[in-house]
Every structure is written in C-alpha cells, then in structure tokens.
Amino acid sequence: MNNDLPVIKLEHVSVRYRTPAERYSTFKEFAIRWLQGKVRSNSFWALRNVSFEIHKGEVFGIIGQNGAGKSTLLKLVSRVMRPTEGRVIVIGRVVPLLELGAGFHPELTGRENIFLNGSILGFTRKEMEAKFQRIVEFSELHEFIEAPLRTYSSGMWARLGFAVAIDAEPDILILDEILSVGDEAFQRKCLARIEEFRKQGATIVLVSHNTHQIEQMCQRAAWLAHGQLQAIGTASEVVKSYRENQHIN
C-alpha cells in the first residue's frame, strides 16, 4: 500500500459566503437599491487559506467546534461546492455518509428507493440490479422491501441508507459524526464493514466533536477553528492541543 499518495489535496482553499447586509425581501426593493448602486453585502469566510493532504488508506479525523468550517470542507471534497479561492483535488469516488437516505421518498417501496438512491450515487440500472441482493441482505430488511418507506422506523430507514451507500464501494468515505444507525449490533456491523474497506485501501474522513472517537479511530487529524487550520498531525497530538485550548477558553 502506498501510504504517501494523496487522494485529497487542498491548496490554499478559501470559501466566502456573502450575506446581504440588509434584507431585501422583494425583487423590486433589490432592483431599486441596485439601480442606486447601494447593494451592500457582508462577507464571511467559512474557510480561509486551508491547505493539507489526506493520503490513501488512512483514517483522517477533522475536529472543531460548530461553525468552524467542517461541513463546508466536506462539501468541497464531495464536489457539492467549489472553493471561492484555491484548489481542491480529489482522486477516486467519494461517497458521503452524511445524511443516510437523503434521497429516499416515503411513498416508494424499499426496493424502489434502493434503485433511486443508487442512481443518485451515479449508478446505472444494470449496476444496481447486480447490487440489489447484497444491499437487501446487508440491511436485513428482506420482509419489508416491498413496503413503502413511510411504514419504516427511522432506524430501518437509516439502515437501508447505509446499506446502499456502503455498497457503492467508495474510494473515499466521508463520515459526519459516527453512525447512530439502528441498534448496537447493526452499528458494530457497519464499523466492521468500514474497517474492511480501509484494509482494502479506501480512505476514510471522519468528522466529529467527539475527541475520543477521533483518537481511537484516526491516525492523523486536523483541527479547524473559525475557518482556519489550527493544527494537523497525529490524531493524539491534535486532540491534545485541541483539548488544552478548550480548557483555556
């Protein structure tokens, strides 16, 4: 395994959101202001000049408080957003396990939703047909697969979402907070599957407030605060300085 090969590369990445200084509730109001040349906006840097690399096959943690820029960073990596400045390079298929079953529709059956969600991940119908049995098996939802999703419990919903996402066999898996999927037995099964992946050379990016988890699971970690990179290094070092900082404040 080539451990130094970067699969995610951030080069001086910045993201600036613009929020209007005043609220224009209507187009007319805005048009008048615009004609007068009085449109003002505040800008807010969600990320500022962030550079680092994540290597192939590592479990990489990202810590930071709410609003530190973690979600924005994930959006950049999963191609949802392009940076305002700087450059993002990603090699391989990325599957974010952020919102399991985000594309599910309650009126469709489990089967129909598997195919729908698979298409959101970019798979063709044929590819999904090949995956279908495996997904159903992993989710342990055989008996319910022809029932509409509105009859599922939230745990079943998440299980199906996880099963579809994990079967995409991503090169890079993004986990936002660790899974709270279903019961403990199912969670263990998910973690085992993720570990299996990592052994096959997949890269895992884990975002969490939970510093214990980062220490336990990750080799390296980065700490973000107010959109800036505070520290990067081995998980234990980064967590240590993060904790020290939290105590001071």
């Binding site: 805005f30 959006k75 999963s78 940076p83 993002v88 469709l108 729908l116 298409s119 959101i120 090169d171």
Partner: protein, 279 residues
C-alpha cells in the same frame, strides 16, 4: 476499487472546462438518475389516490367539461371541429408548459436539499420535471383521442407528426425552466411572480379561445411576439386540424425552441457553481 466513470476518478476544482459541455457530459453519465427521478415523480403523484395514474387523464377532461359548459353558454366560439377537442388540446399543451417550467423551478429552489449533500448534475431536477411532463402529456393523448372520436374530429395520418411539436414544446419549456430557476435561486420572489405571469400569458395565448376572435390589431402582436402561439398551433395541427403544421409556424417554433434551450442551458450551467452558496 470500482469507478463507473473517468469523470469521477479525478476531480480538480481548478480545471473547469466549459460548464455547458461539462454539464452535458455529467447528465449523460447520470442518465439513470433522471430516469429514476421521473419514475418517482410519475409514480408518487397519485400513489395514495384510488384512481391513481388515471388522474393524469381525468384532470384535463374535467377542465374541458367545465370550460365547454361555461363557454358554450357565454360565448360561442367558432372552431373548425367543435370546441371540446379544441380546448382540450390547447389545455394539454399549455398545462404541460406551465406545469413543467414551474416544477423545474420549485424542485431546484425548495427541493435543493439533495444538492447540498451529494454531487448530482444541477440540471437533473429540471430535466426530470420535463420528462415527467412528457409522460403525462403522452398519457393524456388517450382522453384526447377519445374526445376527438366522440365529437367527430377527424384523426388522420398527420397525427404521427405529433411527437415533433411535443418535443419542441419540451425544449422550449426546459430553456424557460432553467432561466427562471436561475433567477429564482437569487430572488425567491420570482417564483410568485412567475405564477402570475403564467396566468396572464395564458390569456394572451389562444388556449381556450380561437385566435380569430381577437381584434386585428391585438392578433397581429400576439401572433408575432408570443412564442406559445406558435407551439400551440403546431401542436393542434396534427391532432385537431388533422394536417401537418405550415412552415411559417413550424420554422419559427423550431428556432424559438432551440435558441431558448441553448440560452437557458448556458445561463444556468454558468451560474450553477454559485447555487450551493445560495440555495
């Protein structure tokens, strides 16, 4: 590791080719997504109702009955083959346009949650909206042909030409849908304004009345400036008048459809990188 496309294997935010072309490539790669979204929209719309998908056909029929009763008592429109089939064909084409353009916008602005979580081509929702409309428009041919038969509207070989006007309206609707979606992302009020504009636009289009009832001066402007006039006429030609559309209507319709689609596609795809900063 498995990857289905070279596009997914290497992503560099700095190398941005021509957005309209890149989007086209992505759409081709994600064609199954468009298909699945369309399937979802067609299937879930009436899933809980007893008559299910039959509503796609019953809905315009109901409208036709109401309008026929109302107008046969208030105004007496002279139409070549009777009013019911005239108004039904007009309503189908108009509703297709108004519903798909609105759906394209609404799906993007209010259904945009998915776009925040995972990468999918930004035009997916608009394309699925148009495809869903095309399915409904095709299904609605059943009641239309039925009404034609019972009211004595001739069904001739020209009906085989019908897919062409349907696709031209779809291209026009996609272009308009992408343009208003772009505006609606920046100014949500556009959504409300568009609803009102559509209402007025419908009365400026010979949907429920024949064009010859208009005074000469107004008719001149409408037939010159209203693109929907051309689309309705070319749609009605094969299904209502039983003939091919004349070239003086067909050629402007083709030009308007393609230019609108091209402009809509270019504007939307060039702006779509900014959407995730906004929606």
């Amino acid at each position: 590791m498995k990857a289905t496309s070279a596009l997914e294997l290497y992503y560099d935010s700095a190398s941005r080719g021509s957005p309209p072309l890149e989007e086209l490539r992505e759409v081709i790669h994600y064609r199954n997504l468009i298909l699945q979204l369309t399937r979802r929209d067609v299937m879930t719309r009436y899933k809980r109702s007893v008559l299910g998908i039959a509503w796609t056909m019953l809905n315009p029929l109901g409208m036709m009955v109401v309008l026929t009763i109302a107008f046969s008592h208030i105004f007496r429109f002279e139409t070549e083959y009777g009013y019911p089939a005239y108004v039904l064909s007009g309503l189908l084409a108009w509703n297709f346009f108004s519903q798909t353009t609105t759906a394209a916008m609404v799906n993007l602005v209010w259904g945009g949650g998915l776009l925040h979580r995972i990468y999918i081509p930004r035009t997916s929702f608009a394309l699925a909206a148009i495809a869903t409309g095309l399915v409904n428009l095709t299904l609605a041919l059943i009641p239309l042909v039925f009404i034609n038969l019972i009211t004595g509207v001739p069904i001739r070989a020209a009906i085989l030409f019908l897919p062409i006007p349907m696709l031209l309206i779809a291209a026009f609707a996609l272009g308009v849908g992408l343009l208003i979606s772009t505006f609606a992302v920046y100014y949500p009020d556009v959504a409300e304004m568009y609803g009102i504009a559509l209402y007025g636009w419908m009365y400026l289009t010979p949907v429920i009345y024949p064009v010859n009832i208009l005074p000469e001066s107004i008719r001149f402007w409408i037939t010159l400036l209203n693109p929907m006039y051309y689309f309705l006429e070319i749609y009605r030609a094969p299904i209502y008048y039983g003939r091919l559309p004349t070239l003086d209507l067909l050629i402007p319709a083709i030009i308007i459809a393609l230019v609108t689609l091209l402009v809509g596609w270019i504007v939307f795809t060039n702006k779509s990188d900014e959407f995730s900063y906004r929606i």
